[in-house]
Structures are given as structure tokens and as C-alpha cells.
Subunit: 302 residues, 2 copies
């Protein structure tokens, strides 16, 4: 492990992902853990990190550790104050240095980005955006980042111009998993037609959400609505609402959807049904690309 | 306890309420328990009931026990098939008899009401409606029943003509208590102005719900939004959406809101701000009134 040059860390709310990087920019080791921000106090971070990388650290010298994500939140390791949009994805010059007991590591946390009005915040996605821009530096359009807190980001001239967050994914998980609808939904299963019909319904009649959702329960009780169709309709209704509100973002713009998994495919299908032509962007290692771009700026500043 | 004539039971998802009634129609005893449908299997009901009323039962003869609510659901004590709207609130002729081991009780469960299209169901509220109609038999208008699953019920000529259920209360509890917003909300506290502004926002821009909610989190982080204002805005946004979709129910109709507690007052205030003039109806013992009305029809059928 003598060729360890730096450590890349994506420290989110529920997950921790670590890559050991060599001087050539290639990962030479990888670790994952469920010790996300939600399970840690500030005092836990250094030990958690060392448990996973200590064996790879050289005896002499300091190894840079570059983190992004919720580790930089107020409830995280150390608060990394937000950059303010419009701005480029933050580089090392804006990172927050974290003092450590162990002198073999030199920890920096990249800031998230905030927007004052309308008030919005991101932590972690700015590094995905930085990674995306290494692939498409001339991108001028809208990036859709599906997830628990789905983000629409207007990007132009390498800057995050504006963005909005929709807690659609979190609503889907809460309603599907914990409301009365949990009795009517499967955890898996899907129905494309039911999904697209619900997207259209959610776009045209967003106000009736709370009523249309209870109707899923009633249709399940009275008319035997299938659990897979109910799940697809819940998703479609929520995504349809979101598309109606996010129309200024996607209408007539170059739209790229990050990811090819289930939820990203659902957004792509919903957008395509509205006549948008979203491109699916491979999300694999996009955060690592962003962290690597930041590491490149660290070398610039040294 | 020789004057026990019958037992009234409101058996909901999370609560059980029992009244011991004398021949004059007055309650002579009362019991409450948290052994609602959600915590019981079908085999548990008889014992749960007897634990609470056994000491009051006479040695000879059978005491009628009249139940309403989720005890009659498929997951309850015994399924009491729905009556179908439009219909009057169900009377004893439509109740489901439940055989018991203990020969001192004669148990009947009143059905709920279903609506085929749009699919909707109620269990328990039909008995509140029956109770309300004993006070206002000539009511022609809309009854709003605030709760976990808020209901708008069009009543005319003593019949439930049509109804719609909004799971607004459940959404409020889930989002306020379990989503990322829980960090930004108080469990108590209120801000009337913030509530009414959010009602208006929810009515005009219902599609942006998932975005406006995340903005509460962001405003709390960036601009110090108070937890009480955040709670009022979450409630207002959800109720505003509901009012937009329920407009055909309340616009230009005689509207009565059942209850005078916090959530009923919130609905009344939101409606009043839209120019409706809702009346607040005292909800105390309204279910008991409905069960008593059903008991009166039992005597008719004997």
C-alpha cells in the first residue's frame, strides 16, 4: 500500500463510502459502511474512518482525506459552510480543514451549496455535479438527480445556476412503508401503464393527492387493485406532481437524468411521456470523479 | 348495575371506548383502552371486551353490545360488509352478529359505508354522522370530519349522498414526525399567519408540495425559520391542497366542521379564509349518539 496518495470519502446520512487512491488517480482499495451521519456524533468520525483505512496508511507523512456529504453538516463531523449559488461546484480552496488526533491523515470536508431564495440546500450532490462536469464540461441544461431528495439543477458555464429540491423520494418511502397504504402496496413490483397514467393524473390534478392516495386503499379493498399497480400509482402520482412544479426546469431544456436504476428510469419514463427527451447519465463512480476533481485542485493549491 | 340495558362500543384502529348504558339511554359507566384494532387479532376481541365490562354484566339474560368502527373491518373482529352510498347511516338491520363464547352478551357490529366510484370507504364516521343527524335531522349540506383520514360528506334527506377521504392528517403526522422536517418542527406550537399564508400557497400551487416542504428545512437551516411557523406551514400547505381539491364539496354549501379541537379549528379557519362560513359542531359524544340511534332501531326490530 506504499502507493496510497489520498483517500476519497462520500459520507452521507446513512452510508459511508471510501476509496483508497493511488498517485495515478486510480482506486486501489474500497470500503463501505452503514455508519452514516445519522448514526454518529462528531467525536465518532475519526475513529470510524481509521477503522476502515488505518491499515493502509503509511508510517510517515500525511495522507490527504477529502470528504463530501453530510459529514459537513451542522450535525456532522465539522460544519463546512455552504457555497452560495450561482457558483461552480466547490473546490479545495473552500473546503473546511478538520483537525485530527491521528497525524497520518489530513482531513478536508467539501462544502455543500445553498440558494438563498427560494431557500434550498445540497450536500453531496455538488460533488456528483462536479463529477458529471468532468465528463461533460460544456453541458448547458438541467441535471435531474433522483433520490430521497430529488434535485433539479440548472447548469451553465460550469456553474450551478439555480436548483430546487423535492422530497418526493422520502414521501414515497414514508407513505408506501408507513401509512395505511402499506397494506395495499408491495415492496417490489411495478406496472408501467399504471405509473404513466398516475403521472398524468398527478400533473393535471396535483391538489387531489391526499384523496387519490386514500383511493388506492379503497380500490384495494373494494376492487382488488393489485399491490404492484398501487405501488406504481403512488410513485406516478408523486412524480407527476413534481414534474408539474418543475416544468420551468425541464421544459425546452437539455435534460440529463443521473442514474439508470429504478427511480432514475421512472423519472426518465415520466419525462419522456411529456415529450421531453431526457438522457440517462451513468452515475457509477460519479461522486468519486467529483472528489478526484477536488483533489486535483488541492494539488493546485499546494 | 342491575339497570344495565346495553353496551355502546366505538372500536377504532388505535382506541377502544365503551359506554355502559341504562334503559333510559343514559351512560352509567365508561371505559377506554388503547387496545384498538391495530393491536388485536380476531381471537382477542371477546376477552378484551369482557375484561372491561364483565363486572357490570347481570347473571342472567343477554346484554346487547353495539359496536362501530374498525372492529368490523376485514382485519378486525368480524367483517361487517359495507353499506353502499348513497344510503342512510346503517341501522341494526344491517349489523353483523358476532357469536361469542360468553352467553351474557349479544354482539353486533355496524357496517361502514363504501362508495364505488370514486372508490372510498368509511368505518366509524357513519356512526358520527348518524349522531349528528339526531341533532340536525334536516341538515342539507356538507359535513367535514377532521382526523387522520379527513372526510367530506355530502348529506341530504338524511342520506350520505357522496363522500371523499383525504389522508391529510396522516401525511401531516408522517412528514412532521418522521421525515427530514422533524428536525425543523416543534411537536407543539403554532403561527396563525404562517398557517393561513401556507393554506393560500397550498391552494394556488399544490404541485409544488414536495418542494415547498423541503424549503421549510432549508429555511430553517439558512434563515432560522421558527419550529412553530414550520409546523403551521406544513399543516397549512397540506390543508390548502385539500381545500383546492375539495372545493366542489364546500363551495356554496352549508358546511359543518365536526369538532372544536386544534385540527378542526384549523379547518374552520382555513375555510373561513376562503369565504366559506363553516359552523363548528360539538363532537362530544357524537359517536355515542349515533350508537344510541342504532340501539333504538334494534328495539324496533325486536
Amino acid at each position: 500500500m506504499s502507493d496510497l496518495a489520498w483517500v476519497a470519502v462520500d459520507w452521507g446520512t446513512s452510508h459511508l463510502r471510501i476509496w483508497l487512491m493511488d498517485a495515478g488517480g486510480q482506486p486501489v482499495g474500497h470500503a463501505e459502511s452503514d455508519k452514516g451521519m445519522g448514526r454518529l456524533t462528531a467525536a465518532d468520525y475519526e475513529g470510524t474512518l481509521l477503522d476502515l483505512i488505518s491499515g493502509a496508511l503509511p508510517d510517515t507523512g500525511k495522507v490527504p482525506v477529502i470528504c463530501c456529504g453530510m459529514a459537513g453538516s451542522r450535525q456532522g463531523w465539522r460544519e463546512a459552510p455552504y457555497a452560495t449559488a450561482p457558483c461552480e461546484p466547490p473546490a479545495m480552496g473552500q473546503a473546511t480543514h478538520v483537525p485530527t488526533q491521528d497525524q497520518r491523515i489530513d482531513v478536508h470536508i467539501l462544502p455543500g451549496i445553498k440558494q438563498d431564495r427560494p431557500a434550498d440546500v445540497m450536500r453531496g450532490e455538488e460533488t456528483q455535479i462536479a463529477g458529471f462536469l468532468t465528463c461533460e464540461p460544456e453541458f448547458d441544461g438541467v441535471l435531474c438527480l433522483p433520490g430521497t431528495h430529488n434535485k433539479w439543477v440548472h447548469i451553465s458555464a460550469k456553474e450551478v445556476v439555480s436548483f430546487r429540491t423535492f422530497m418526493t423520494g422520502e414521501l414515497f418511502a414514508l407513505i408506501g412503508g408507513q401509512s395505511v397504504l402499506r397494506h395495499s402496496l408491495t415492496a417490489e413490483g411495478w406496472d408501467d401503464d399504471a405509473f404513466l397514467a398516475a403521472v398524468s393524473e398527478g400533473m393535471s390534478h396535483p391538489a387531489s393527492l391526499a384523496c387519490d392516495l386514500f383511493a388506492l386503499r379503497a380500490e384495494s379493498l373494494l376492487h382488488g387493485l393489485s399491490p404492484a399497480a398501487a405501488r406504481a400509482r403512488l410513485s406516478g402520482q408523486l412524480i407527476g406532481m413534481e414534474l408539474a412544479a418543475a416544468r420551468p426546469y425541464w421544459l425546452g431544456r437539455d435534460v440529463a437524468v443521473l442514474g439508470e436504476d429504478g427511480i432514475a428510469s421512472a423519472y426518465s419514463a415520466a419525462l419522456a411521456a411529456q415529450g421531453a427527451m431526457p438522457r440517462a447519465i451513468c452515475a457509477e463512480d460519479i461522486t468519486l470523479r467529483g472528489l478526484s476533481a477536488a483533489y486535483a485542485t488541492l494539488k493546485d493549491t499546494q
